[in-house]
Amino acid sequence: MGHVNKMQCPECGAIMNHHADKLMYESAAEPDGASSSGVIAEFYRCPACGAGASRLEGSLTTEV
């Protein structure tokens, strides 16, 4: 589930390590009749400061 966009640590700015993916079902966000295929959430940890972060696959938005 790799992608080219590196995740930058929101705490210290270092490049984070991508260590996990998880299939997520966000039923509240799906309109009626939408398929429940889910989305991949990516999970990161910072090797410099230990902070964690996550984002949806392919997204440039950081959710901490």
């Binding site: 991508h18 996990a20 993916d21 090797p47």
Partner: protein, 161 residues
């Protein structure tokens, strides 16, 4: 457990009594996240759950609290100690917790501690009366610490890709 963990060098431990968390019951999951609990889970490298067994299962309150976080748990170690009034020491509750741990992204160690006949095993001050437990607890904690350190290294340095 806290006393035994405090004897391990380089280990910082925080006790969380889930009965003191006031999570709402009108919803569940990350929608009811408690900021202080979530921050503790984010900071932790490993969890030690002490789970009393009720009617052959773990408590509903424990599930409610665990479900309130997700990303804070992923690829962290968890050890479970069962407690019951009977001869199995919470073993059935532990077995039922294992698939929940997996779905939360936690990694279980393969040692348990089972506090059997709990009403006779501890004195009124909570001191463990059967000294034979201490060896097992030490092994259990050592494995949790090893797994916690190993997974921390993995989270920070070993990439999926």
């Amino acid at each position: 457990m806290l006393d035994e963990l405090s004897k391990k060098p380089g280990i910082e431990t925080k006790l969380i009594d889930i009965a003191t968390l006031s999570l709402p019951t009108g919803d569940a999951g990350e929608a009811i996240k408690d900021p202080a609990y979530a921050a503790s889970m984010d900071r932790a490298d490993g969890l030690l759950i002490v789970s009393p067994e009720y009617n052959h299962g773990y408590s509903g309150l424990l599930k409610h609290v665990l479900d309130s976080c997700l990303k804070e748990y992923i690829h962290k170690a968890v050890a479970i100690a069962g407690v019951s009034a009977g001869p199995f020491g919470g073993a059935r509750g532990i077995q039922d917790l294992l698939p929940v741990m997996r779905e939360l992204g936690l990694v279980t160690i393969f040692w348990d501690v089972n506090f059997t006949n709990a009403h006779r095993l501890f004195d009124a001050e909570g001191n463990l009366l059967d000294k034979a437990f201490y060896g097992r607890i030490d092994t259990f904690l050592n494995e949790l610490i090893w797994m916690s350190k190993t997974l921390r290294h993995g989270r920070e340095h070993i990439s999926l890709n």
